[in-house]
Symmetry: C2
Subunit: 202 residues, 2 copies
DNA sequence: GTCTATACTTCGATAGAC
DNA sequence: GTCTATCGAAGTATAGAC
């Protein structure tokens, strides 16, 4: 099987992406990127004139890592099942979210160029959430007085905030609880009169 | 009116606390603390031998800033009203949470001593949430098949995650939506047969 | 407790040969 | 495109007088 030669440029981007996830932007130095990637000084500054340029490439590289997961929300099939599947997807609560993490770094959040890829990623995930929530309302799995736009933000926040709680306690429990609690609420928010096509409730 | 003389020590702690909120731990330098506080070099290292010592004092100082707000949850009166009041409390979504922010700083999260005050603060807020949620269940404002422990984490996560979304978009909207959506869900999760003592629903 | 001076390291970037 | 050498600034702390 053919493996494309990994060029220095891509190696730098991948390494920067890893380090930014682990340590954030401010606290990741060009030196560490060089050392972990094995790419030399001259080479690095040839491809990326500044640390910020490299960070931008790394941030953009991360978006596609986040979206395939969210696109599960767009799959065909039972809306509520997709919501549950996405929420319960295996995650590592103690590592946090590659994308969400960046919002806490002042050097990222105060730089519109660096923040843009982060904003775009969340906007797209939000759109997927809104679609599946609308479908759930249409399928009478959720009360129709619930606003999908709002709920989408609520559920995204549960995940992002769950990471914060888990890291604070150094325990995945709070993350898992937060997600499970959100699912409980969604189930409790089914319409009073279930669709006659539904399988009967337990 | 008497104003206590602000000693260097307290001034350093307050300044460090501010800077850590604004810029995080890794990205805040002793130099900045000196400059903003006006305290001299020798004085600073007299009170705090290392940056970490100063950070620890600042983190501990921040807890009491967070808890009075959460203690609203413990007030007497209608549980659901207290929940709503706390969730809708005026906040600045774009500034984020003083305490939650720290979980994203590797130098804090990998240092058990620095992380401890953060964990403690969240543990206490969680306890307040659990109490008020139990009361809400007892008052038949929430279905009794909802688990207060879980829900407490869910609602804390909505707030913490709301900040992340708001900062990413540089717009308080997503935070406000996340919170409003959570309230919608809580209201939708009222028991099917309301308490006969309840005022009649609109 | 506070001051000034100094030390040593890392950061982020540039220079210029190959 | 890659290499080695170097730079000025900032970070973090120590020394030692007052």
């Amino acid at each position: 099987m053919y493996t494309a030669p990994v060029d220095s440029r891509q190696l730098l981007i991948d390494t920067m992406s890893e380090l930014m996830w682990e340590r954030g932007y401010a606290d990741t130095s060009p030196r560490e990127v060089r050392q972990r990637s094995g790419v030399g000084q001259g080479s690095m500054y040839h491809h990326f004139p500044t640390k910020r340029d490299l960070a931008l490439a790394a941030l953009e590289r991360n978006i596609p890592d986040l979206l395939p997961a969210a696109s599960e929300l767009d799959d065909p099939g039972d809306p509520m099942a997709r919501i549950e599947a996405y929420l319960m997807r295996p995650r590592d609560p103690l590592k946090g979210c590659k994308v969400g993490r960046m919002t806490q770094d002042p050097q990222v959040r105060e730089d519109p160029v660096l923040l843009a890829p982060v904003a775009r990623a969340f906007t797209q995930v939000h759109a997927s959430w809104v679609r599946v929530l609308r479908e759930a309302v249409a399928a009478r799995q959720l009360r129709d007085d619930l606003d999908p736009e709002r709920l989408a933000h609520t559920l995204m926040a549960v995940l992002q905030g769950g990471y914060v709680l888990a890291i604070a306690q150094q325990d995945p429990g709070p993350f898992n609880n937060a997600v499970a609690g959100a699912l409980d609420l969604l189930r409790a928010a089914a319409p009073a009169a279930p669709d006659h096509k539904d399988k009967k409730r337990n």
